[in-house]
Symmetry: C2
Subunit: 273 residues, 2 copies
């Protein structure tokens, strides 16, 4: 089917529109999409420039590009709709029915989401990120009292990206603690984690996948040998089982999927930013 | 207007649906929304449980809850629609027009976005996160060759959360380097950054806001004195000006807004996950 151009045009970051269009277009695996993301399109001059890009693309490719928009301002939106694109506006389709249902007209203010409009909530988000960096990879266990969750698992099982995602996206104070060789031998929860076992969550991973990941980092080392990976994963899973810890095999899961599962399993409080 | 319950029901993480509903509902500032997020609702039993929650809520509050859904499976979606809610499905409204426009039926496969379906892209995302943690706060400048962008600025001007967001969300290799007191005195770009000036991006911040942030961290210290904040911000802005560095005053901007601006200003390549 070839390639189709997709424009994402937003008066703010475009991040929401981009995620939603990506969700939708991954439902059409036969087509390759060439994304052009235009954020901060918030005045008539920028709309005119975006229109030109759409028209040029339609002319060049002989087919209208797909255009996803989140434009709060009706005037700007209708100006853009004059371009030669196939338009899908995420506001247009939902705001009117929501206004009817909520019996209130919408504010039409740009940039209310992803903004600093709620300063206190925002400060707590930054605090969560700083905490997760501060308590990455077993650092500063003396601060675990403040953690909402402490991820554990063997080296390279996904703890760091997941902790940071939980902090950035949900404002969760997420520490992570790698279980070391000595602690694996013991077959019990490391001493340092014992007082916090209610907030410990274990990650595990297929040993073959772990070996691949470790090899990219440090090839031909004891660390990346399959036998070592098998041993560590076996031991860590035994600890989870013996201690009855909630845990997750994250081998084929994305950071988003791992994070959403942990939040659900531990019923963590989280924010929406 | 009081509080209105909002359900977000997804067959996967619900993160996309959550972001879009948050974007939409922040347009109704008079109403407080009580979010109930139900991810991984992917079989009939879970749909039945979700239906029950919706019906119970409608009964309790005397008004239908708002229900945002992203359910790929038509059968599950229509089952859920029998509940006593006001439904907004993000797939339903867009998939049919997209199928017409793209002349292809959609795959109806669950979890294509936020998934590991593209392993190579996914590995590069994790590598970006590891790089950003590895090169946080001036660590490992010997690895700046691999950076896509090096954020700089005074302490607490937003470098760390922004670097991590760029890595996690866009797969960008983002380092960050805090300009120290000695380097501020010199009024030129720190030596360590000079070979990489094409990828250096400066953050700045209002000194009063900086003082607030620093006070939360270390109150009543020289570090958090307004005069010190004013001095540092003045010096750093002078460096940006003298060196002609791209820079941004991030005082009232969210992490998303800062990140999207940097990507635009430096025309960085980025992925969509």
């Amino acid at each position: 089917m070839g390639t189709r151009t997709v424009f994402i045009i937003s008066d703010r970051t475009g991040i929401t529109a981009e995620m939603l269009s990506h969700s939708l277009l991954t439902q059409f695996p036969g087509i390759e999409f060439d994304y052009r993301i235009l954020p901060f399109v918030d005045d008539e001059a920028k709309i005119a420039a975006a229109k030109q890009q759409i028209d040029d693309d339609a002319k060049e490719n002989g087919v209208k590009p797909i255009v996803f928009t989140t434009l709060v301002n009706d005037n700007l939106r209708y100006l853009l709709f004059e371009a030669n694109g196939e338009f899908f506006d995420f506001f247009d389709r939902y705001i009117a029915p929501l206004e009817r249902e909520l019996k209130q007209t919408s504010s039409h203010r740009v940039g209310e989401s992803h903004s600093m409009s709620d300063a206190k909530k925002y400060t707590s988000r930054i605090a969560a990120v700083n905490f997760s960096v501060h308590c990455d990879d077993g650092l500063h266990p003396g601060d675990y009292e403040r953690a909402d969750v402490i991820l554990t698992g063997v080296s390279r099982s996904g703890k760091t990206p997941t902790s940071l995602y939980l902090a950035l996206h949900f404002g969760i104070f997420a520490a992570n603690y790698p279980i070391t060789d000595d602690e694996l031998e013991a077959s019990t929860l490391p001493k340092i984690l014992q007082p916090f076992r209610d907030k410990v969550y274990g990650l595990t991973i297929d040993p073959v996948r772990l070996q691949q990941i470790r090899s990219e980092r440090r090839a031909n080392s004891a660390y990346s040998e399959l036998s070592q990976c098998r041993y560590e994963v076996g031991q860590v899973e035994q600890i989870y089982l013996a201690e009855g810890l909630p845990n997750l095999n994250a081998t084929v899961m994305s950071i988003e999927e791992i994070s959403a599962t942990i939040i659900q399993d531990l019923a963590l409080n989280r924010e929406i930013f």
